[in-house]
């Protein structure tokens, strides 16, 4: 969809939910997805539509802390739950979550269209593990988020780096670009 679909007011539901910590009450169409409500009723445009059928992960948000595909989730499902989107990711970190900073340092976002969804999936992983993560853990956790630009390498670098920043081993460091250069 490219905008709100036709309103048929008599069917409207009252949705009471929390979005990025703010209590939200609004009338929604029962058939509207969470992605439609976020993007077109609330102007939270950070959640992207790449396929509208759960294939690409660009619409990934969190519901009660767990990654969810907003394009496959009815908005009504958010009733009484806590929804987190990329717009709120930095809220507890002075506006910039360590993942966002690591993505920026590693040039892990090329076109950036998949990035909000990837950040939400990655944040859930780092919160769940609460320790530095391995590249393979990141691969498995992010397998539902497609990226067409990066070949995933810089994203892996950034997520592992952010986990180290947050959970303590080292100062931010970039992975050497090759074994050859590491040996030098």
């Amino acid at each position: 969809m490219s905008g709100p679909s036709r309103s048929s007011a008599p069917d409207a539901l009252l949705l009471r939910t929390s979005i990025n910590g703010d209590a939200v009450q609004l009338a929604i169409e029962p058939h509207h997805t969470l992605l439609e409500v976020l993007r077109y009723q609330l102007d939270l445009i950070g959640s992207k539509q790449g396929c509208d059928k759960g294939d690409c992960g660009a619409c990934t948000v969190q519901i009660d802390g767990k990654p969810a595909l907003a394009c496959l989730t009815l908005a009504a499902h958010a009733e009484g739950r806590e929804v987190s989107t990329v717009e709120g990711l930095g809220d507890a970190h002075g506006g910039c979550h360590p993942l966002q900073d690591a993505f920026d340092r590693h040039d892990a976002a090329q076109c950036g269209f998949c990035t909000p969804g990837i950040l939400l999936s990655a944040e859930a992983l780092l919160r769940d593990r609460a320790r530095p993560v391995s590249r393979q853990e990141v691969r498995e956790a992010l397998a539902g988020n497609l990226c067409r630009c990066t070949g995933y390498t810089k994203i892996l670098d950034a997520v592992v780096d952010a986990s180290e920043v947050m959970h303590g081993t080292d100062a931010p460091s970039a992975r050497p670009t090759s074994k050859e250069e590491a040996a030098q």
Partner: protein, 797 residues
Amino acid sequence: MSENEDIPVGEDGGQPHTQVGGVHRKVDAMERMRGVTRYTDDLKLPRMLHAKIKRSPHPHAKILSIDASAALAMPGVHAVITGKDLPEPYGIIPWTPDETALCVEKALHVGDGIACVAADDEDTANEALEKIVVEYEVLEPLFDPEQALEARDNPINPYSLKGNLSKKVLLEFGDVDATLEQSDLVVEADYFFEGTTHAAIEPHCALAHVEANGILTVWSATQVSHYLHRELAKVLGLPANRIRVIQPPLGGAFGGKSEPFDLEFCVAKLAVMTGRPVKLLYTREEVFYSHRGRHPMKMKYRTGFTKDGKITGVDAKTVLDGGAYSSFGLVTTYYSGQLLCAPYGFDAYRFHSKRAYTNKPACGPKRGHGSVQPRFAIECQIDKAAEVLGLDPIDMRLHNDIGADSETVNGFKVGSNGFSECLRRVRSSSVWDSKRKELPYGRGIGVAGSTYISGTNYPIYPNDMPQAAVQITLDRSGRARIFSGANDIGQGSNTMLAVIAGNELGLPLDDIRVLSADTDLCPVDLGAYSSRITLMVGNACVEAAQKLRRLVCEAVGKRWEIPRKRVTLAQGQAIDREDPERNVTLAEAFVWAESDNGLLAATGSYNTPKDRHGDYRGGTIGASPAYSFTAHVAEVEVDPMTGVVDVKTIWVAHDCGRALSRKIVEGQMEGSAYMGFAEAIMEQHVVDPGHNGVHPGPSLLDYRIPTFLDTPELEALIVESPDAQGPYGAKEAGEGPLHPSIPAIANAIYDAVGVRMDSLPFTPPRVLAGLQARAEQERTAESPPHKPDTNGARRIA
């Protein structure tokens, strides 16, 4: 940021490289990661309408009538247009205008646009599409390019001048037949490269609005705003100065957004008709049918070699499956032959390429336009020759390197060339020499090389104007604004421009604003295609920034009573190079310079050298100011029981001339290698002739682009052989590094299990069939056992 302990002062009269060659945070990345960047579908205007396109269910059909009255009568429907409302034919290549915004007489593939509705919302628009009645006369579809070329009584494209022949190129250099005759070895084989598509995660989207002053503004997810501007003017019959095209931040393109599409013309026309803003977003299915992706190619190659592995000559015959429209096909047909003549030098070459129309979504340019397919063929040919001749495949490639400052057999001038260095880097990083000897049956390692252009010497429409231009202004707050028509499609061209201007003016990137791809505000740039932006727009940016640097240094020198060349600009300051304690902020320096000169603004432009191509018809097509070079080594594991190929690692060495921003260059190399891997192992963009020419899986799930788990380790190894034509020596990095992935994987599969993969993609059934054929050859002693020293390996019976 690249920051040194001491303030660098640079050479006399020159600038220290405080930015070039460093690692940078992209100028526009953080806003994307905070979710506030407005891509095209994120734009919303008051009273905006939503449009949808009705598409043909038939692959080939005459349109007898269209009745839109029931749709128009629906509440909430504002307008319906058909092909007759936009009948002017257009084409991205001015010589082949063979498509219309919507079909006028005939639908040429499933998904071809028939009519477009503007309504209050998408649900209403979709409902209205159902009420449009189209009467078709179904025609016989042609899906096979060779059959289409034979079918003289069934021409597909009504604008075609030669039936289903879209383009033919036959060029010969040297005496190929005699050369092959005299060669010690001639390798002959047929190759098939399957079509693939771009699959950018952002679907195409466009929004149009006629402003109160009468200017038609079109926002589009395009990578060629200038060409879109021209074609909109032509098709809508409006003067170009009444149209403004803006490319908002783009969610990936890869060549898939490099020409106008039906949606841009439709929203523009509907906005003019309704007086209201109109937006159209493709569904993912529509993205697949709009396509313009990699051409399927059937390639017949004969390649001659001397005993010591020198390539003597190449004879190539290629049939390109073009789909329903020309798109860039004229160029693709040339590129299928013209870009093969480096990195290896040889003296005799003939290529004969024919592009056919078929009843499929049109093919066009995808990353590595036209040259990825022949590269697959030639690199497999070389691998086969190396085996017969008992040579190491890397040594053989080193032996054939055409070298720097050389001329190809088809007359292109090569400047810098880091190909041999690329080969040496992948050899050492992959530990090639020992793996090549020691990997057991089922595991293998393969190599391939390639070259690519850094832009084309001639623009798409002939003209003598610059190919790139940049305007920079400085203001008294100590800030630079760069205006550039270049399309940043995620490759980082806005950051590249900021790095160059920052380098020349001593500014941190935070103090540089880049305004790009808005035809009202920016000088013309031709767009993001053929890997032209870093070299061309980069050169223009250097020129503009250096003009301003001169003015600023002059003004500072005047006040300090020292020569201009003693003043350097670095880290936000103007500095006396001989007495670095004496310095002033750039904001102050800009005030001095503006006081002396008036507004600080400068333009820079770039045009290509016109003496670096062949002197024959077509000799300019494929010629570039500078060529990049790449070598890949791929390591694979093949399961002999299932035919599953697991690509473990791809080492990517790429000569980009000079890496202006290292991580951005690495990202281009990694993304390219990934995309090549995907084409080798997984992706096929096809239609099903058994089901009326529909795409068998027009979704990201069914088409299957690689996930985090599918993608191999990618090791990017930057090689820098600066080219005199590039800014600071820079050449391209965004397309070249795709090419060798595919043949390197094919050659690695052969090393692993002794099976030649000459058809793409290397799916388990194809690999399994190859394993069975090999087992049969070994049984009849036609082939020796492959890697017989591996004990206990599972082998197919």
